[in-house]
Symmetry: C2
């Protein structure tokens, strides 16, 4: 590929970016899009924009950029949670290290590469991009020490920055805990694998166990109920019946609604809320009779156990309870909004086999994916394409087509294939059996990350040089050498990948094309009223791997083919502005891992650094410079030691909570007399909404769309209206057999219909 | 190698074995060897054998075998500890699985292999051993399913047996805890990384921290003191001075003692105990002045903290204490006799780097060791030997020489080289910084195990087939194929290895050649009195890897070259008798890991099974039997799943203690009113003997020899006379600056000279 080709590609992408950004700055001012671009703020502030026609609305403006940049970290933490801050820090780290790398490499390495060989230099636009890589440096060149030095500087600065970020985020994590001091999840332990007894109910077993062994700290408990298949069918039938009654009663204009949509996206127009209660009230009045209609819930071997202090809960969660490690398995409970109910019912004994199976599944998926990728690689090599599709020969001879095909098309096709990956990995993560949404997303994030690094980086590098071999796994001993040969060559592809995948995905992220389209379809094609809200939580499982992959590309190409770096820095800067804007305006933080994405980012960065160093050793070897290669090896050891130190020094904080902080918080509560209040709130916090909850119609819609995006079926984020629930009284009886709490739940959930919906849109 | 060669080798070894066993049964009856063969029992029972001359003494007898077999597991547990039982269970498991394998393979597989090809069979003694391996089976043979079936049976039975053993040992481990209910280590937490304060001493810091955060359960603490270099020199000088006075005062006959030995093995004749006190008494009377002579001890950032209950200690040990994971690092304290004092003084921050460094060191050692091994491989190939050493050609042409060299010599030389491995690995493990002897030995055991498997199995298999390649690491993808080719060929070598290394090492273990020689040298060459005792603890770090290696050889050869199996079963049976005898009579259990060798054995066995299956897949592939190869792959998956299940089901019990059991024990103590008594004993349990302890002369000798065996310098097992120490009073003041406890220690340790030494021999 020529420099001209790259510049064409860059030009197209910059043009598209500017276009999209301008378009965004206009679209965001249109009142009909307010739900797409300000979902979070609407949900929070209940304000609305003017609907009047003003010229200003149609003039692009950069004010949103300014707003996004002005937001401080504390504000971000307060509005979007710790995970958003971590994501932000990943971007900040990337901007810092790659700005430095750009300066070093563009002014230090690039001229060396360009003038590396005695040759006639053509005009720069028609110069091959490979002239700018280390491939152009002569063998045994004395200037290779510059590359080595640059590698040293980048590694050491990266390590220092990583250390500072790790420390900062660990501090934030502790602060996060102490700030959310009234969080009921701190007092709650999720117990799984409760042994089944013939004489006692689970509830009684739990009570006996904890009053016997943790009497001084045990407060109360709440058994998790499993909803059987039969009951699901029954409640489904009830739901349909209710809807039927509802439609009959409200004389909805059914003509202009295609019948197919009534069931799935069941209108739930805003006035329906006024009418529904009359049906429910009858049911609500006879809650005991209501239970005769629904079959009794099955208790499953899980329970939430509440403790008097945070420290006591932590202790019970961390200590092995009995001599059978598959029974009485304890862990700190996730927050109420974060719980993934349907997985709580899974028998704990199943989990290890689910883990193994999904691991195998992901690995197989990872390798099967190679087939389309290999086909795409064919497109980048024109001769191959001409051979295979001879009828294209005429078109391919045109120059701009050549540039388009080599520079742009492969990445686009790859991109389209890659869109199927996050939903698939999310599905795997769901099957794995995580008990919280955040855990599920984090697990999917790891899977997508491994997938992306393998399929975008390694497969491209290893098979890009020889299209015929499908599985590029030759002997691992040769991999460094093969990488060393291939990375400088493939740098061109990576540069275009940054331009297309990186920049384009940022633009589409900002534009929220999916949301816009959906709104358009709903409004103009389906003619629905727009009382459903599009509130997603941030898709960390797609964005974190993306950013980390670009980091990997940046590090590996930095000293070898530095042409990629300026584009990368631009990407990160743009990403910084756009993601912050999205955090502030679009996404709603429903759940939070508490900064657990940082260790992933740290490990990936260390991996990238080591990979870079190994490749450099290989390249120096190829260039017959044993001194430079020899000097790089201590750097690898240094990086490994640094990683080891970070694991010892910071990682434990991301796995558990320190006793000191929790005890201090407990004492503070005790002194300020808040303990009683906190204990009272605990009981209401973990009331289990039945999965067949007939009610929160406003939630179903959200969940459905959220799931469409993440690609998994089912019951993901239905329970996100904790704030709607009233406080319960302290005395929470746990009768054997008949779950009193469940009945109360039913009444309560029915009650939630009357109250104004928090996320209802201002009309 | 021919069958005749193998039988010659087996004959030699069986003869040697019988000779050694008879010799042992005579030698053990000689009164002068009583310390060698009954060290443990003498130490325990203080009895002694008759010195009279009886003919019976010189007649071989099998009574010791009967005694060894009669001993029940409970007796073994009571006398030699849980680790001995685990070792015993490893042997029992091996005997069971390989007996089954022998029956299956000798009657099922062996004839198939032998008649696998249409060929003229020569008389069996001159038949090549390779006729009995799977190499003799025709390609595409329909009989390969028998091999596959045998593999299935062996794997499944092995898994069932492993599961039962795991369960049994986990139960024993819990029993072991509850039986040693008065063990002070259950109540004690070792705290390291105590932050240094300018205003307070460590002692005060510890007290403040634990009274603040664990006030309800904290009892008291004991700071660990570090003895500086200067003080070591001073006390060394004092020691020399005392010895000089001692020799002057007792008019020792110095002529017949070579002067060189006075310093190292300083006689310490039994009457010296009566004379020493007069010197010490003066020091003992002015303990405060005494401290002016010795420099004040430096407190180091470690302390033993005592808690009121076992559960409280466990909780503190398991929970992360503060937000800096490198400070206030807690772990359950090892038992008093098990503590490795000099490592307690290491700053906790150093440990991660020591870990990494020793890991690197062990890996380098593992690979450098290849060089002599490769040379040894040359010996097995006669042609190579004749080429290199042409002057040997005449000798080598003789037939018995050929048999000797191919069948016997290589293993012997390898064996000699292997003797240097355990001391080296023990040295690495010491440098790693473990805080207990048992941890050090366990770590050395793992290192020796990896080393043995790599250097005996893999290197022999991979480079045995091609002597020229020093580093056999070719591409890992081909390793299964290469193993499949090489294992049947190398089976002959492994068979002779079992004969020489296995049987011979058992005989020498039983004979205690080192101990015998040492006694002989002391008595007849150095003319010393024999008041030093030879009390070792069992060398798990050499014996566990040995047994596991033979297991690996057995599994990998079972279906492919079953000729090895009968010899292996004989080895395990002999080992069963001999090791039990040694546990009962020779070795003294000074410390115990509590069964932690079992997970190592389990993992190694699983690894052996998987390796066997992978090799079989390769062999079936070579024999062009895709059905058999395909049927083996589910077996690999099954074995991995089984391992995963065991990790979930049993492994946690080997990492921590279950709360339920500890709480039950605490309650029992409370009900029976033993708590107070236990608390009082805690204070005396962890009194620190200064490392420069001037006194226990009888201990130095033991330690020196023990260290010679394990090959590390220094302070290993000097602190093994806990029982000698008197109970201290409850009030144990921890004054700032001046460590009162230390002064008291000094007095106490001086006092220990007067009392009769427990391990002193009955003359």
């Amino acid at each position: 590929m020529k420099v001209g080709g790259l510049l064409t590609s860059a030009g197209i992408n910059i043009g598209l970016c500017v276009l999209f950004l301008s378009l965004y700055s206009i679209l965001r001012k249109q009142p009909q899009n307010v739900k797409v671009y300000f979902g979070r703020r609407i949900a929070e502030e209940n304000n609305r924009l003017r609907d009047a026609f003003i010229l200003e609305r149609f003039v692009p403006s950069p004010s949103w950029i300014v707003k996004s940049l002005r937001c401080t970290e504390d504000e971000l933490l307060a509005t979007a949670g710790l995970d958003a801050v971590v994501f932000n820090r990943i971007l900040v780290f990337s901007i810092r290290i790659f700005s430095l790398a750009t300066i070093l490499c563009v002014f230090g390495v690039l001229p060396l590469n360009y003038f590396g060989q005695d040759m006639d230099h053509v005009r720069i636009p028609s110069a091959s991009l490979e002239t700018f890589t280390i491939g152009n440096v002569q063998e045994r060149s004395r200037w290779l020490w510059v590359h080595c030095l640059v590698l040293y500087i980048i590694t050491i600065v990266a390590c220092v920055l990583l250390y500072l970020e790790y420390k900062h985020i660990a501090r934030l994590r502790l602060l996060h805990i102490s700030r959310t001091s009234s969080n009921p999840s701190h007092f709650t332990v999720l117990v799984r694998g409760i042994p089944k007894s013939r004489t006692e109910s689970f509830s009684r077993t739990v009570e006996n166990f904890f009053t016997k062994y943790h009497a001084s700290t045990y407060l109360s408990h709440q058994v998790v109920y499993k909803v059987g298949k039969v009951q699901k069918i029954v409640s489904g039938a009830k739901k349909v019946y209710r809807k039927f009654k509802h439609f009959k009663g409200t004389t909805v204009d059914q003509r202009c609604r295609p019948i197919a949509f009534q069931c799935c996206f069941c209108g739930a127009s805003s006035n329906s809320f006024q009418l529904l209660p009359s049906d429910f009230e009858q049911e609500g009045e006879t809650p005991v009779n209501g239970s005769s209609l629904s079959l009794p819930d099955e208790e499953c071997g899980s329970a939430f156990v509440f403790f008097k202090t945070r420290y006591a809960a932590l202790v019970v969660a961390e200590i092995l309870q009995t001599s059978n490690p598959m029974r009485w398995v304890t862990s700190l409970a996730p927050e109420r909004d974060d719980i993934y109910w349907s997985n709580l019912w899974l028998p704990y004994k199943q989990l290890w086999i689910r883990h193994t199976a999904t691991l195998l599944g992901s690995i197989i998926f990872m390798f099967l994916f190679l087939i389309p990728v290999t086909f795409i690689q064919g497109l980048t090599q024109l001769e191959q394409l001409q051979q295979r599709l001879p009828f294209l020969r005429g078109i391919l001879k045109k120059k701009y087509m050549t540039q388009l095909i080599t520079g742009y098309l492969p990445s686009v096709i790859l991109q389209i294939f890659l869109y199927t990956v996050p939903p698939t990995m999310m599905l795997f993560s769901t099957l794995e059996g995580p008990i919280s949404h955040s855990e599920r997303k984090k697990s999917a994030c790891c899977k997508v990350l491994y997938f992306t690094i393998w399929n975008v980086f390694f497969v491209n590098v290893l098979s890009g040089s020889a299209i015929s071999q499908v599985i590029a796994l030759s002997s691992p001993r040769d991999i460094p050498m093969q990488l060393a040969k291939a990375v400088p060559v493939q740098a061109t592809f990576f540069t275009t990948y940054v331009l297309t995948s990186g920049w384009a995905s940022l633009s589409s992220e900002l534009m929220q094309l999916f949301g816009l389209t959906w709104i358009f379809v709903r409004r103009y094609l389906l003619r629905m009223k727009e009382d459903s809200d599009l509130l997603y939580s941030f898709p960390y499982h797609t964005e974190v791997p993306k950013v980390l992959l670009f980091g990997l590309l940046g590090f590996t190409c930095s000293a070898l083919a530095p042409m990629i770096l300026p584009f990368l820095v631009l990407y990160f800067c743009l990403g910084y502005v756009i993601y912050r804007n999205q955090f502030l305006n679009v996404y709603c933080t429903k759940y939070d891992t508490g900064g657990l994405y940082w260790p992933i980012a740290h490990n990936t960065t260390i991996f990238s650094l080591i990979l870079t160093q190994v490749i450099c050793v290989g390249v120096f070897g190829l260039k017959k410079s044993p001194v430079a290669a020899g000097f790089t090896i201590p750097l690898i050891i240094f990086t490994l030691l640094f990683n080891q130190y970070c694991r010892k020094r910071h990682l434990p904080l991301f796995k558990t909570f320190p006793a000191q902080n929790l005890i201090d918080m407990d004492k503070e509560d005790h002194q300020s007399g808040r303990t009683e209040d906190l204990h009272q709130r605990l009981h209401s916090a973990y009331f289990q909404f039945p999965d067949t909850d007939d009610i929160p119609l406003e939630g179903v819609q959200t969940a459905g769309i959220d799931e469409d995006r993440s690609g998994t079926s089912g019951e993901s984020s239905r329970e996100e209206n904790k704030a709607d629930k009233p406080k319960s009284d302290l005395s929470h009886p746990t009768l054997d057999g008949l779950p009193v709490s469940r009945l109360r739940n039913a009444v309560r959930s029915l009650g939630s219909i009357w109250r104004p919906q928090k996320r209802e849109l201002p009309v």
